[in-house]
């Protein structure tokens, strides 16, 4: 418990900054919605001038862009990119921080098991993500109800929003996994930015090419807002895949970390 509290305290500032940035981005983008909704037809015509692959790549759906959920889906692509960077950063610095600052000796010579250390740290990171999500969803929901032109499905809206948290959990798990496999990460930021942007680009190219198989490769495509809007549910196959990635990564992390030598 004491490790959890200490870790959480060390995340407070960054959690606040990330939360406010995500909320700020959402508020900014949503504030453009009334203008788009007002001149919907004209806006759609402009968009039609874009080649289709480009539209798909940046997540623009002409038919739905002037509806709250359609517009939210578009906004969400960029929110999820930022959120993923936050989660991947948390994950990959979770254990490497101790090695870099040479505090692993301090922590692991205390009467705690490595499993307890890992669990406390993971919980603190998850709490940080939960708080970010609460602030983000509150801001998004508030903006949506202010700028809405017609009623929309609240449940679909919530499901899309919550998929940010699921996506973040996946990247948190991947981040920790990378950090135990590559133990001496010199710069956490470059590793996490590289990984997240890599997956993001795969997603963009996959969408542009309309390649269904690509969806399995990048977590950015596991939670398709269009599907959620139409069905008010997640796609079972991708939901399972995401959960599988998290479980597998975390299991490997627990195993490797318990067996690992803490070198100076």
């Amino acid at each position: 418990m004491n490790i959890f509290i200490y870790e959480w305290k060390s995340y407070r500032k960054s959690t606040l900054i990330w939360s406010l940035s995500l909320a700020g981005l959402t508020i900014l983008l949503f504030s453009m919605f009334p203008a788009i909704a007002k001149d919907a037809e004209e806006f759609k015509r402009v968009l039609q001038g874009f080649p289709e692959p480009v539209r798909k790549a940046i997540g623009l759906e002409i038919d739905s862009i002037a509806t709250i959920l359609g517009f939210y889906s578009y906004v969400f692509l960029y929110v999820s990119l930022c959120g993923s960077i936050q989660a991947m950063n948390l994950g990959s610095s979770l254990l490497t921080k101790e090695i870099r600052e040479k505090t692993a000796d301090f922590l692991l010579t205390k009467p705690v098991t490595r499993k307890q250390v890992l669990t406390s740290k993971l919980l603190a990171a998850v709490v940080s993500l939960i708080l970010t999500n609460i602030i983000f969803v509150t801001a998004a929901n508030m903006m949506a109800s202010i700028v809405k032109t017609e009623s929309y499905s609240i449940s679909a809206f919530i499901l899309i929003s919550v998929s940010l948290f699921l996506l973040q959990l996946i990247f948190l798990a991947i981040g920790v996994l990378v950090s135990v496999i590559v133990p001496r990460i010199k710069s956490v930021l470059s590793v996490s930015l590289g990984t997240v942007f890599g997956f993001f680009m795969v997603g963009i190219f996959g969408s542009a090419a309309g390649d269904e198989a690509m969806r399995y490769i990048t977590p950015f495509k596991y939670f398709d807002p269009a599907y959620i809007t139409n069905n008010s549910a997640y796609e079972p196959a991708f939901f399972t895949l995401g959960a599988g990635i998290i479980l597998a990564s975390i299991s490997v992390v627990y195993y490797v970390y318990s067996k690992r030598d803490i070198s100076i």
Binding site: Y6, F106, V112, Q116, I262
Partner: protein, 294 residues
């Protein structure tokens, strides 16, 4: 009762350094010195005892329990001071010590303040702002605040001034009197000599010798250098226990092992200008043990 029992402990890192088949025991209430040059395997042994690294062979027990299997349990009674002290920066000394204390299920605040007073450490400072010596003090306090039964020190004195070193040794002696067992690793023989009952000497990953300090002292050489006013008969110092005798225009140098009285009488009988008597350094003791092995 043995507090530490190490049997055939082996740790290899690929081909490089490590330790090979190390065995020794540390008895309850003992101050045990563990000496050897840098890279000999002292830290490797200690880190294995603490479960920071895992042995490739053999085993180690602390308080009769396997140090890997029961790691978290035995660490309740262990205080550890690493050679390099890096603690969470951006944190005040007091917060760090409180965090450290929170791992032990007892009230450590009284002892914590006592130790801070003895070592003259300002608890309200930030760790970033501390000098090396003061960081070392933080390390000492976090290692001792829960009054552990076993204190493990890995080259603890670097960065401490002589006065602080003395206070620190007094602290250790005091803890030892209260019943704590101490494992003290160092590459400086003199500091181990002052404090320890027994020492193990480690070189290149193997225990070269394990002896009482008193025996070790008897069996080691002293270096003599004597300057005389007139040239001496070349054979003058050639008595039992003298080795490597060299004479050069009124300066005699030799190594002596045995009863010092016999050599002192010899010296007293002549007119000398100057004299130097040196304890052999660690390297020379190693040489001595290597010679014995050959």
């Amino acid at each position: 009762m043995s507090v530490i029992e190490i049997s055939n402990l082996t740790k290899t890192y690929g081909k490089a350094r490590g330790i090979n088949n190390i065995s020794f025991t540390v008895e309850e209430g003992e101050i045990f010195g563990f000496i050897g040059p840098n890279g000999a395997g002292k830290s490797t042994t200690i880190r294995t005892l603490l479960g920071l690294i895992y042995p490739t062979g053999g085993s180690a027990k602390i308080f009769g329990k396997d140090c890997i299997k029961y790691g978290s349990e035995i660490k309740k009674e262990i205080g550890y001071l690493p050679s390099e002290v890096f603690y969470y920066e951006n944190m005040k000394v007091l917060d760090l010590l409180k965090y450290s204390a929170s791992f032990y299920k007892k009230d450590c605040s009284k002892r914590m303040h006592e130790l801070a007073d003895i070592l003259d450490l300002d608890l309200s400072k930030k760790i970033d702002d501390l000098s090396l010596g003061n960081r070392k003090k933080v390390g000492i306090i976090q290692g001792l605040l829960h009054e552990p039964k076993l204190i493990i020190l890995d080259e603890p004195t670097s960065g401490l001034d002589p006065l602080m070193q003395q206070k620190f040794f007094d602290l250790l002696t005091e803890e030892n009197k209260k019943g704590a067992t101490i494992l003290f690793s160092s590459h400086i023989l003199s500091e181990v000599q002052k404090l320890c009952d027994r020492v193990a000497i480690i070189k290149e990953g193997e225990i070269v010798t394990l002896e009482k300090i008193s025996t070790l002292k008897e069996s080691t050489y002293k270096k003599f250098k004597i300057e005389t006013a007139v040239s001496l008969d070349k054979e003058y110092f050639q008595i039992k226990g003298v080795n490597d005798l060299e004479e050069d225009r009124g300066t005699a140098t030799f190594l002596f092992k045995g009863n010092v009285n016999s050599i002192m009488k010899k010296i007293a009988a002549i007119d000398i200008v100057n004299i130097w008597i040196d304890e052999p350094d660690l390297e020379e003791i190693f040489m001595h043990y290597y010679e014995k092995e050959d």
